[in-house]
Amino acid sequence: MNTRRILRILIGAGGGAVLLSLALPVYAQEAAAPPGISGGDTAWMLTSAALVMMMTVPGLALFYGGLVSHRNALSTLMHSFFLLCLISIQWVLFGYTLSFGADHSSLFGGLDYLGFQGVGQEPSGTATIPHLVFAMYQGMFAIITVALITGAFAERIKFSAFVLFSLLWATLVYDPLAHWVWGGGWLMKLGALDFAGGTVVHISSGVSALVAAIVIGKRRCYPDKALPPHNISYTVIGAGLLWFGWFGFNAGSALGASGLAALAFATTHTAAATAGLAWPLIEWMHHGKPTVLGAATGAVAGLVAITPAAGYVTVPAAMAIGVGVCFVCYFGLNVLKPRFGYDDTLDVFGVHGLGGTWGAIATGIFATKSVNPAGADGLLYGNASQLVTQLIGVAASWALAAAGTLVILKLVNLVVPLRVTAEEEITGLDLTLHGEMAYNFLEPGMSGISSPTLRESSYTPISATGDAASGD
């Protein structure tokens, strides 16, 4: 047997063993709600968790789906949908505990919550919401982070490679990084500020996307024969859903229905609106025409940039952050990308990687304790050291994401090829990988179900004149 087959069998056996572990004894839950729980906080956090889930499906799914060729639309939707399910399971089984379990050497969490043991209806520590709510909310972040990366290798990744890569990345990159920044790890201890995931979600996915785009290589059609987006209407709908869901992403990161959540809501919306204006304005000046794709892209970039800063800066600062991200990302897309020639197909690095980096740095500039005493003062308020801390956080995220992605891709490639064949790429992934087509404009007579079982049953076919045929 060759190496690939052996490794595939081992992975199958490993997966089976994990599923068998579901036969662990179930611990009895506490009966009544303890006094620490706030109804308002819990209601808002449940809502926020649902909002963030919607950001992946259908938000990101449509945002990405509209940008690819029609023959790859379903495969792109499948990436988001499949990950919604896959990472949800990974999170319950071991993702949550690796991120938020008891700290081990400031690098990763322990196995305290393996299989969601000990994650019950009572709050954890001084929280005002059930532990389950916190864990579910955080899980939605893990899902969308992995889903964001799929934009880098859309239209050419092999499905099995995508599944393996995603599982390994969630476990070896996302979970540790979430622990470093939010779970009690070293970046949290250092005082790096990341309100809702500028580093954990956007830098990590963006930089990983860049590495993946380079390692997997360009699409064959890129750039000379690249096709324009097949349905920008989807992308605009997706952007709207992302914006709407982002209120859960950012304002929910206040972990309660509080004044801080209100601040995060306001900064989030203002940054998105500012950027959604600024990007088309830049296009207007640069190319002569403002585009709706530009407006959608700008708004999303604004949302990315405000993510680490939402609960630490003032609303006017959010405007500055929104304008700034447009310049950074517009430069990334229009200068860096063509100059270096990487095929980051859906601009994950250009929007999330660069936007998240700017946002994390901007947090170090604009943060002020006057809006959030639990935050810090930034450069503009006379404290340069926070900016340094932010830069350390940025560097650490870049390093973990880049190194982790490179290693994982090489590992996956030992088991399966990363890319589809040339013919599959030209025909389109929907048909070749999934046996489906997104748009079927067939007329009667152009297709039919071939089923031996149907033929042998007492089924009576309808003839061309519309009457049932006489018996056989």
Binding site: P223, A226, L227, P228, P229, I232, H287, T291, T297, N334
Partner: protein, 112 residues
């Protein structure tokens, strides 16, 4: 018998069809096609990348005619499909060997 194939601007199809019917054309077939000649394509811009699209949407009309109707049909098309700008299209006249009406089996000019 002759067959006329005319490539025209899509938005003028209705006018051309009416003009052909006025000179006695009983039926025609229309296909949506893409093509180019001296009319340049257009450029679309998405996230800063320019996509040059050379193939423009056009409409192809196919009509089968008796010899004596050909000139009138060409006039009708010329009057209604012409704008004077690049991209007005072309008319091709081809010899037609046989025509059969499927419903009745008629052949030749009576099948037109």
């Amino acid at each position: 018998m002759k067959k006329i194939e005319a490539i025209i601007r899509p938005h003028l199809l209705d006018a051309v069809k009416n003009a052909l019917q006025e000179v006695g054309v009983a039926g025609l077939t229309v296909t949506e096609v893409r093509g180019f000649g001296r009319q340049k394509g257009h450029t679309e811009t998405y996230r800063g990348s320019e996509y040059k699209i050379d193939f423009l949407p056009k409409v192809k009309i196919e009509v089968a005619l008796p010899l004596e109707m050909v000139d009138q049909a060409i006039d009708a098309i010329m009057k209604t499909a012409k704008t004077g700008k690049f991209g007005d299209g072309k008319i091709f006249v081809l010899p037609l060997e046989e025509v059969i009406r499927i419903r009745t089996g008629e052949r030749g000019e009576s099948a037109l």
